[in-house]
Amino acid sequence: MMLRLNAPRRWRLRRHGGGGGASQHSARLAILLGAAVLSLGTAAGTAAAASASSMSSGTGWVRCAHLSPNTAPVDIYLYSFGDPKAMDVLRHVPYGEVGMYMKMPAGEYTAAIRKASAPASTVPVISANLMVHAGHAYTIAAMGPAQGLRLQTLNDRLTTPHGKSLVRVIQASLKEHHVTVRAGSATLASNLAFASITPYGTDKPGQWVLHAAGGSETWSGNVKLTAGTIHTLVVLDSPSGLKVTNLMDAAGSAMMPHGGVDTGLGGTAPGPAPSRLPWLAGLTTGLLLAAGAAVRLHRSRAVPRHAR
């Protein structure tokens, strides 16, 4: 069976334009206060390298995930500290869903989770703060069992070692509390406990047989790792047991060229324009030669040939 390379379904995304009444304001205040109490999850790990493009444009990337097996579908809210009028909402996110990355202005955000379709004015089930740095990518995941639901912020890597692929594993299966994941002969996760995450590991590019095994349930499929790509494999409960979803976190060129790119010859550069001279010279030379020869021929025809 071929592992379906997951192209996550895009959730409905709505950006509301302010207009918040007093009740909405107080709700937000409650969220912020609640969020302040909560830890930021993996806040350290500043290793994630920044992408120059979005660094200069002051944006980062955020995606949200619902990875709590026995939690009903949720609505995920993202509130911006910098722009109180901006609010992103992902609605009806079921277990196992990981959204597309959303480009967000750098700054501080609060993520909040409510039951699907619960009014935005209600107190969220859980919330957490998130600092988005320009050029960095993050995954906000609802993790753990319903009784101990938590919002965890993951720093997603955006650089790979030369010619390698990066892979990490999220264990989000409750059917199997510990799961081992292998790709070919490489072990990606060994006896990984429910609701935990491996760091990114470096892997050799190629097409591998992916194998996940818990105490009784197993799953296998194929995974293709290309140099310059970064993946997150998510172990999930499925109706038939286990399944593994392959998320493409990021992709770049498989081979990095050296240095700059020589895409100009100077014909429009200001300053001396020597490039035209050789052509004019060539044209003139040709003209002179041809004209000279023609004149000579003409003369030689006009003057009778002498006897030898």
Partner: protein, 235 residues
């Protein structure tokens, strides 16, 4: 189909100057003169041909003569139906940037012997780097083109004039369009080109256009900088 007075060269009576003194027979007896004449004409022909090639006459001249069916939506029209970034997009075949009048087919680019990015042979064509993700796939796709030839503008001559918000259209092998929105335009010295940032991984479907810019160094016949346009797919 006869030409006017001068008979064709294959005629039994090649010249109009009488049977006894055809000009070309004379020429044949003066091989040096004939060679010089031929050489002169050849030099001119080669020069003109070189000029035409190196000025990069556009393959499809821009302008109102767009009688050919144009699948691109007019500017200002909302983008096509949203579609998610995918892991596999069709090969890119053509590029269009209405804001700066770019319209070109896309060739494939690989590596040079020196490990640098290959550039198109023709200044009037842009190329997609085959080691980068295809436009529309998750990741940073790379397209490069010349700013100029020896004599005049190349396909990306006006690339630096792009602004955030401008649209870039890539036609794919299946005829569909991937639409990108410019997010930034940056110039880097080639000596400090941020390879990892430009060619490195991106978490969404991005397209990066590269050309030359900055000062032209007449000693090495190279521009000293690169201009990179960053864009993100509109979904």
């Amino acid at each position: 189909m006869r030409a006017a007075p001068p008979a064709p060269a294959t005629s039994a009576e090649p010249g109009r100057h009488g049977r006894g003194s055809p000009r070309w027979r004379q020429a044949a007896r003066r091989p040096l003169t004939a060679a010089v004449l031929l050489g002169g004409v050849l030099t001119m022909a080669i020069t003109v041909a070189g000029l035409l090639v190196l000025t990069g006459q556009p393959e499809r001249p821009p302008g109102p003569a767009s009688a050919a069916p144009d699948r691109l939506p007019p500017q200002g029209t909302p983008a096509p139906l949203p579609k998610p970034a995918t892991l596999t997009a069709p090969l890119p075949v053509a590029l269009r940037i209405p804001a700066i009048g770019v319209r070109t087919r896309l060739i494939r680019l690989g590596f040079t012997r020196h490990g640098t990015l290959q550039v198109p042979n023709s200044p009037s064509v842009a190329g997609w780097y085959t080691s980068s993700p295809r436009p529309g796939e998750i990741g940073s796709s790379i397209i490069a083109g010349h700013i100029d030839s020896y004599l005049g503008p190349g396909v990306f001559y006006r690339l630096r004039e792009l602004h955030p918000g401008n649209r870039i259209y890539v036609r794919q092998a299946d005829g569909k369009l991937a639409v990108f929105r410019v997010t930034g335009v940056h110039q880097y010295p080639k000596a400090h080109f941020p390879t990892a940032a430009v060619f490195g991984p991106a978490p969404d479907a991005e397209l990066r256009l590269i050309t030359c810019g900055g000062t032209f160094d007449y000693a090495t016949h190279n521009y000293l900088s690169n201009v990179v346009v960053y864009s993100t797919e509109v979904r």
